[in-house]
Symmetry: C2
DNA sequence: TATCCCATGTAACGAGTTACATGATTCT
DNA sequence: AGAATCATGTAACTCGTTACATGGGATA
C-alpha cells in the first residue's frame, strides 16, 4: 500500500532506530562522523523528522531521565515503523531512483542486515543491475546523437556512463560475495 | 563576490541561455529529452526559476509574437548573467560539492565550452582530482574502522569508494583529451 | 568566571513537487 | 468534433537550510 510516503531522511532514521534506540543528538553525531549516507546533520532537519515519524506512529519517544541530569528524548521503532522499514527495503530500484536518488538506493541496501534474507538482497541487486543496463543503453544512444556537441559535453556524458558501468562491476562483486556467504554456511 | 547565490537549476538555466535564447517550454523539452543534468522538467520549477533570474537582472524576457499566434516568452542572458555564469564556472570543486552536489560539479564542467580556456578547465579538473583523492583517503580510514559492521554496510561503503576511484580515472582521461586538443592546434 | 560542548529545540525562509488551470493549435 | 500537444503559468504543500534560542555541565 504505501509506496514512498516518507522522505529518504525519515527512512534512514527508521533504519538507524531499528538497530538501537537513539536520541536526536545521537543521530546528529552519527551523521557528522560517518560518511555513510551523507545527510545533513543539522538539528533543523533531524528533530522535525523524528517528530513526524512519532506523529505517524512509526516511532515512540520516551524521556530518559536515568543517565543524566538533563533528560534525553530517545526514540525507538514501533511495530508499524518496523513494517514500514521492511516494506521500503523490499522496494526494487526504479529508473527514477537510479537517476535522481542514488542515495536512497544504496542506503536501502546498507540497512538490510538482519531484515532481508540474502536471497532477497541478491534479487534486489539483480533488479538494480537490470535498471543500470537499461539506462546505459539509453545513454549510449544519447552519446551517438551527440556528435555535434562540444568536447566537454561529450566528456560529461562519459562521466555518467562510466559511473554506471562501475556500478555494474560493483553489483557483480557484491552478488558473488553474498553468494559466497550463502554457500559457506 | 557572490559565492553561490543561485541554485543549481538557476545556473543550469544561465548555461543554457548562454548558448541560445530559450523559452520556458524549450527548457522543459530539453530537460525531458537529454540525460544531461537530470533536472525536474516540471513547469513549477522552471518558470519560477526563470522569473527569479529576471528579477535579479541576470536574464531579460521578451515576448516573441512573430513566429506563432500565441506569444512565447523568451529569455536571454544579460551582461550580469554572463558574468555570474563565468564566476560560477570558475569556482573550484569543494568537498561539500563532491559529497552532496555532484550534479552541480559536472554540470559546471559541461558548460565551459567557449567560456573558459582549456588551461582553466584542466586546472578545474586538477582541483576536482585533489578533492577526490583527499576524500578517498578519508573513506579508506572509515573502511578500516568498520571491521565490526555487516557485510552490507561494508559493501555500501565500497560502492562509494569505487565510484570515486572511477571518477579519478575519468578525470585523468579527460585531462589528457583536453591536452591533446591543446597540443594538436 | 567565562567559555566551550552537550542536548534540545523553534522560526523564517526558500525552493522543488504535485496538481491544477487556461487557451490555442494541430492531429485523428 | 474530439483529443492530444503546445505553451504558459499559479497555488498549496512539504521539506530542508540557516540562524537563533536555551540552559546545564565541563573545562580553562
Amino acid at each position: 500500500m504505501p509506496e514512498t510516503l516518507l522522505t529518504t531522511l525519515e527512512y534512514a532514521l527508521l533504519g538507524l532506530l531499528a538497530r538501537k534506540v537513539m536520541s536526536g543528538y545521537d543521530v546528529h553525531r552519527l551523521f557528522i562522523q560517518t560518511p555513510l549516507a551523507h545527510f545533513s546533520s543539522s538539528p533543523g532537519s533531524i528533530y522535525p523528522a523524528l517528530k513526524r515519524l512519532a506523529r505517524r506512529g512509526l516511532v515512540t519517544d520516551t524521556l530518559d531521565r536515568s543517565t543524566e541530569a538533563r533528560p534525553r528524548r530517545v526514540y525507538s521503532l514501533t511495530e508499524a515503523g518496523s513494517a514500514a522499514l521492511d516494506a521500503w527495503l523490499r522496494q526494487p530500484v526504479t529508473r527514477e531512483e537510479l537517476v535522481r536518488n542514488q542515495q536512497a538506493m544504496i542506503l536501502r541496501f546498507s540497512l538490510v542486515e538482519g531484515r532481508l534474507a540474502p536471497e532477497e538482497v541478491i534479487a534486489y541487486l539483480e533488479g538494480y543491475r537490470r535498471e543500470v543496463v537499461s539506462y546505459l543503453a539509453e545513454l549510449g544512444t544519447a552519446r551517438d546523437r551527440m556528435a555535434g556537441s562540444s568536447l566537454y559535453e561529450r566528456l560529461a556524458l562519459e562521466h555518467g556512463i562510466q559511473a554506471y558501468e562501475g556500478q555494474i562491476r560493483w553489483i557483480d562483486r557484491a552478488i558473488s560475495q553474498i553468494g559466497e556467504r550463502l554457500g559457506g554456511e
